[in-house]
């Protein structure tokens, strides 16, 4: 089966990229000039440091450390578990597994990014279609200029503007804090969803401002992309043909033109998950949301390099997986690719 081979090959690429990412983050931590032990306990004695190095396995050769870190079963030298066993390491300070804090923070960031992405697409698609349909008119120019201006607002600036005006001045929405949503209980059963509880401490209430902050920039990007692709599609013969069939404009735009115009949008939406995750970090910090971004910030200040390394790895994993999925969504959107890719 051509399709199966294709999936196999993409999967292999995926594995290679992830392996290299682990190697990179691992090297970064281990190749720091100087002694990690010195960084962790700057005022400890030589003996204490040596002990720490041994505990962390830092006295072993570099490649050996890497293999241990990955947890490859066959060539593993000691009894400890590694990445492949789901062991992301432990915090230096508390000896807690990194997975504990990940269970709390990952769903928060995932929800934030997901909402922002959905909101951005829901706003950008009709706007892009409208701008393309009315291309060259005042409507189009207005949408375009506004988008261009929004594109220049950094996340942190918008976050501060919204938290000041909507939060502090108008006091409509909270400017800091978080309440668990639908995803949190799935990761950590001790948390319960607040989606159906009262408005004052509802998950959604706390997410509105952060999500808007993240979505605005994406709306501008997606809308501009869709507009230019859509303009190209609207010049296609099959659009004239649909018009000659007596199909109403709305149907031409959304049924005939949108799907073939959305391939670039889909790719970019996948790639921009990365931008969103990056944006989420600063947005979480500003709105005091205890997600991965806040966690990464804390890890940096506490010099918890193992934790930091694990978080980067998890983010890279999510990012690569999403783009892997996007590749397959392509096939759903465009039947031509189904054949072209299968035969390629």
């Amino acid at each position: 089966m051509a399709a199966a081979r294709l999936i196999g090959r993409r999967f292999l690429q995926l594995a290679v990229v992830l392996l290299l990412v682990t190697f990179f983050t691992f090297s970064l931590v281990r190749l720091l000039p100087g002694d990690p032990a010195k960084t962790i306990i700057p005022f400890g004695t030589e003996q204490q440091r040596a002990q720490l190095n041994q505990d962390l396995g830092l006295d072993k050769p570099f490649l050996q450390q890497y293999v241990n870190y990955l947890g490859v079963p066959i060539i593993r030298s000691d009894g400890t578990s590694g990445l492949l066993q789901g062991n992301l390491g432990r915090l230096y300070a508390t000896n807690q597994p990194v997975t504990d804090s990940l269970k709390q923070s990952l769903p928060i960031s995932l929800q934030l990014v997901l909402y922002a992405q959905v909101l951005a697409l829901v706003i950008a698609i009709p706007l892009g279609v409208l701008a393309a349909y009315r291309s060259g008119t005042r409507t189009d120019r207005t949408i375009n200029t506004t988008a261009f201006a929004f594109l220049a607002i950094p996340n942190f600036v918008l976050a501060l503007v919204l938290s000041y005006f909507v939060g502090a001045r108008l006091q409509w929405l909270p400017t800091a804090g978080y309440q668990p949503g639908w995803l949190d209980p799935l990761f950590d059963s001790s948390r319960s969803s607040t989606i159906f509880s009262g408005w004052s401490n509802n998950h959604i209430r706390y997410m509105i401002l952060p999500v808007i902050t993240l979505a605005v920039g994406q709306v501008a990007i997606y809308m501009r992309l869709l507009r230019s692709d859509m303009i190209a599609t609207l010049q296609e013969n099959f659009i004239t043909m649909a018009k000659a069939k007596g199909v109403p404009n709305r149907r031409i735009l959304f049924r005939h033109a949108l799907r073939p115009s959305s391939l670039t949008l889909l790719t970019v939406a996948g790639l921009n998950i990365g931008t969103l995750i990056g944006g989420a970090i600063v947005v979480e910090v500003i709105f005091g949301i205890p997600g991965m971004g806040t966690q990464i910030g804390t890890a940096i200040f506490a010099r918890e390099y193992v934790e930091l390394q694990s978080y980067i790895l998890v983010i890279a994993f999510i990012f690569v997986m999403i783009n892997f999925i996007v590749d397959f969504l392509y096939i759903v959107l465009d039947p031509r690719i189904r054949r072209a890719r299968a035969t390629a």
Binding site: V16, V17, L18, L20, V21, F24, T25, L28, V29, L32, P33, G34, D35, K38, T39, S135, G136, T137, D140, F148, L151, A152, I153, P154, N155, F156, V157, L160, V161, S163, Y164, A168, I231, L234, Q235, N237, I239, T240, K243, G274, T275, I277, G278, I281, V282, V285, I286, I296, G297, I300, F301, R303, Y305, L308, Y311, I312, I315, A316, F319, V320
Partner: protein
């Protein structure tokens, strides 16, 4: 015009039809040629022409953007040179702390834009902060352009294994979101520099930022350079140079590079804008330019807790960042539009 048509011009059949089409395309004004095939031609045509026209003569927007960039660069560079009659950006005037326009406690006499929460003059902070932000952003983009450019050129021009290795290397770095990667790099680099500098003389945080943001931009700029180099390497004049037996390195530098550079320049403007935002983001996360040296980002980062009482401390640098990023984006677009025109004229 010869009386006898040349032999190689068939008159009819599918071949002839194509010839006629070509004829028509050559001869007709583009408006009609487009009209033949398209439903929405006029809108696109009008829009496209408008953009081209804007490309030929700079519009008011472009002049405003240029004006702003000149102003802000002069403002910060002259301040740094000590030419401007500004107060020190690190001197505290205790009496005017947190005061300023729109502040809860009123304005500060003698300080037009007020002071920050430590009583330091905002105008001075903004000017010197602008220097930090622009210096870091420009430095990072230069770093990225040099390393990303070289790697991208090699990948795009030589192709084959070089391309495979470099492209997968880029992909590994691109698999980590830019902000996360920059954050990690700064953290690691700061850790590295503080543990290696035993005498306590740490490397200037600005250079660490340049290095971190620069490294993050390498795969991004590298990929763009690669794409551009790849297209240009397949042009006829490059093939011709190859056929004449010119050495690859010579072709790359003499034939391909001059064509890739202009495209990179328009990207560079956009990249500087992104780098300014990156510096701001890192500062707000607490790993940017080290206080008391100001940067636009760390002015916001230090006092964002006081936003309720003294909004001016946060919103003034935010406004400067917004206007600078907007101007750079706009100019980047203008440059790109002009380059497109030139390319289509070839």
């Amino acid at each position: 015009m010869p009386a006898q048509p040349p032999d190689d011009m068939p008159a009819d059949g599918p071949e002839g039809a194509r010839d006629l089409d070509r004829y028509a395309e050559d001869s007709l004004e583009s408006g009609l040629a487009v009209a033949q095939g398209s439903l929405y031609f006029s809108a696109v045509e009008v829009g496209g022409e408008g953009q081209k026209r804007r490309g030929r003569k700079l519009g008011i927007g472009a002049w405003l953007a240029i004006g702003w960039m000149v102003f802000i660069v002069l403002f910060s560079v002259l301040a740094q040179l000590g030419v401007l009659p500004l107060k020190s950006p690190t001197e505290s005037f205790a009496s005017c702390a947190r005061l300023g326009p729109f502040a809860k406690e009123g304005t500060a006499p003698g300080h037009i834009l007020g002071c920050d929460s430590n009583g330091r003059d905002m105008i001075a902070r903004l000017a010197y902060g602008g220097w930090s932000s622009l210096f870091v952003a420009t430095g990072a983009v230069l770093f990225g352009l040099i390393f990303g450019g070289v790697l991208g050129m090699l990948a795009g021009f030589f192709g084959g294994k070089v391309d495979v290795v470099l492209t997968s290397l880029f992909n590994v770095f691109l698999a980590i979101p830019a902000v996360v990667l920059a954050l990690a790099l700064v953290a690691f680099l700061q850790g590295a520099s503080s543990s290696s500098g035993s005498g306590g003389t740490t490397v200037d945080a600005k250079f660490l930022l340049i290095l971190a943001i620069g490294i993050v931009s390498v795969p991004l700029l590298g990929r763009i350079t690669r794409a551009s180099a790849l297209t240009w390497s397949q042009r006829e004049f490059v093939l011709a140079a190859r056929a004449q037996g010119a050495k690859p390195m010579r072709i790359m530098i003499r034939e391909v590079l001059p064509n890739v550079v202009p495209a990179m320049m328009s990207i560079a403007l956009l990249a500087i804008a992104i780098a300014i935002v990156a510096e701001g983001t890192l500062s707000i996360l607490g790993v940017g330019v080290k206080p008391p040296t100001p940067s636009w980002g760390n002015i916001i980062g230090l006092d964002r807790g006081k936003i309720k009482e003294s909004p001016h401390i946060v919103f003034l640098p935010a406004l400067l960042i917004f206007l600078t990023v907007l101007s750079l984006n706009f100019l980047g677009d203008v440059v790109r539009a002009r380059l497109d025109v030139r390319e289509s004229a070839v």
